[in-house]
Amino acid sequence: MLTQLECDVLCIGAGGGGIVAAVTAAERGARVIVLSKRPYGSGNTRIAGGLVLLPNISPEDSPEALMRDMVVAGEFLNNQALVETFCERAPHAAELMEQFGVIFSRKRSGTLAPLPVPLAGHGFPRTLTIYSEGVPIGTALRGAASRVGVQVLDETIAVRLIGDGANVAGAIALRWLTGEMVMIRAKQTILATGGLGWLYYPHTSNSRAMTGDGYVLALRAGAELVDMEQQQFIPFALTHPEPMVGIVCGEPAIAGPYGRLLDAKGRQILTRVRMKTRAQVSAAMSLAKEHGIATQHGGMVLDLTPNLKKVLGTKMFEFLKRTFPSMIDAVRRAYGEDAAKGRTPWDVFPTAHYQMGGIKVTPDCRVWGVKNLFAIGEVQGGLHGGNRIGSTSLAELFVFGSLAGNLAAEAASRTGDISVDISTAKETSAHTNSLPGKSGSHKPIFLVRRLQRILWENVGPIRDEGRLTHALEEIQRIREMQSDVCISGRRECNPDWLDAIELDAMLLAGEVIVRSALMRKESRGGHVRLDYTRRDDKAWLKNIVVGMHDDTLALRAEDVPLSRIHLGSKGGANPLRERIQFLILNILPRKAQSKILDARLNLGDDS
């Protein structure tokens, strides 16, 4: 049986992007339905570090400076029109978050306590933190959804967008707890399904829901994906024990002023780690593993002990521990108390963290080439180019969530009847519905695990032609096995059924990543190729765009319009200024150093 529902605005995904859009649209009077594959309010938003962008804390900062930092760190692949919209609206993101119910960390005096130092890639301090990191964002989102009376279909998986030609008009979904299929007709649809880190399990910091569904839903509806080869591998994640592999324990800033990054033989891989972008550090570590010597756990060595010999280092580490409590906690559980105190080195390797590439959109989040469809949050492509700088994503959810929510509500009020090609919709639904009880030779979970291994080994932090070609062949092989899967017959809470649906999305998303990575014959951002180790601005200042026609992927390279920020622009940290500050500080007596740092890092204040 196919249950039918109808609404003005359908939000697919219930993390930050989806719920902000839903609440905004509902406040404008739209009837809204939200689909959430996992319990709603969960997802990557809830497990985030809770670092949120607040530009212009420093008087020298400006929207232009932020834009420069994002584009320079993104190695010029960013969609600059989108970045511009973001930078103009970014100052309001944190305000909106507090209106949703979050409280940012305050000093004892009651005023905001932003981080006094820039995160990697930022030229200025621009970050607020939240008590208990991302968790309260999830709580606030659930509260806001209840406040405005958004209808949430929990544990409900969108399997296909429906519509008529290039018009999208809702989705077909499976209610996993009951095994019921639903068709939701919607005047406007917003995709907010998050990223795809789970394609690299266990080498990922992401939540289990991130199987790339949104990219595939969009592609199959006629949308295009841009720069899908650009994954952010965050440099520092745990390498053991087994349950903790891939769990993030820091971004470059955690190295502190004197931390050293070494291979297993004790050779330094990279200097001044803290000043480098996430992409640069991860690339250096992956190359070192390729050429040099990894530890027995396949990692590199992050040695924080030199920090503890100096006042500045000690204070910075104290400060970082307070800023990233859950990461330090993970280190404690994996490597023990001494490691958590920075007294023994950490065994670390990059882990899949964020998908920069994604659905191609206009600056107002409308999906290119498809009508009545928006994409926001991590599933959207172009904002971060080849590398995302910290704290921008949570802000992005509120910036674009509210923008798209408003536009969708307004568009819905002007949209007349919804036209849906019912026979195609019913066919898709019937196909998904027929999966339980299918007999065959392979349990879907084993194909999922095989695919994840192939992707990590061949299109992970290090790539080359040989590996990528191998990955494509393997994907083909797994596809053949996919037609021979066996799925238990139960309807309610059937993990095989969910695995089979996710496998289908993961195969296509994986193929898009591999084909895009094959096409980009250079190293840039999160994409590191052993056979083309340099960035090649002459040939590859291009976006790789993927579309699908008659079930076949079509790729092309498009010039990136450098409308505002031009090649050669500088952004990010100013190493010279920092060096001078360090030098001056080091001349002072230890006590004076301590005092200055306590004040600058708010350390005396337990805010």
Binding site: G101, I103, S109, V135, P202, S326, P495
Partner: protein, 219 residues
Amino acid sequence: MEEPNIIVERYDPALGVCVPASYFVPLKDGITVLQVLLYISETYDTTLAFRYGCRATKCGECAVDVNGRPRLACLTPAREGMTISPLKHLRPIRDIIVDRAPLDERISELRLYVKSSGERPLGALKVPESYERLIGCLECYGCVSSCPQFDWKKREFGGPYVFVRLAQLHLDPRDGEDRRAQARSLGIERCSSCSQCTCVKGIAIRRDAIGTLLGEGKA
């Protein structure tokens, strides 16, 4: 085959009861309850239904009972002979999955969101320390399993999850509703002589949430 060393109480909706199933899982060093569940599902039975999300103690999806106490599966070391079962006092759906909806619904019914009187966001705000301790609630619903009074069918009693949320709001300097009165109308006095509730993340529910709402101590 080795002797079984793990019991999973799997709820069967057709029978309406939990059926214990035993498995052998090699308990390597550092292995967690979540790893055990994944092992069972990928070695013996892929239809074992359980939830998990981030593996990193932050999403709250993997709350289950271990030897009768609520735990996060990803945070809890596995032990020989342990029993894993669905959270108590919620409606089991299948295996160790329980229905979250009755508690989700409380959020709108009881207006568990900030009813602000229009303060300027990002302005000065005095945040009590106990707020900082309570706001880490993952909404995993594990606490209700440890509460001898809670039953999802009985709406007149709030239970620990609702009380934690009410206390967060009471301590939120922006919230304008009388959350203590709400807690009283939801039977919080029943908690005054009881302190059996536990939190998988170590929140002191009795002291910081219930104590605050009852007006005990200086809070």
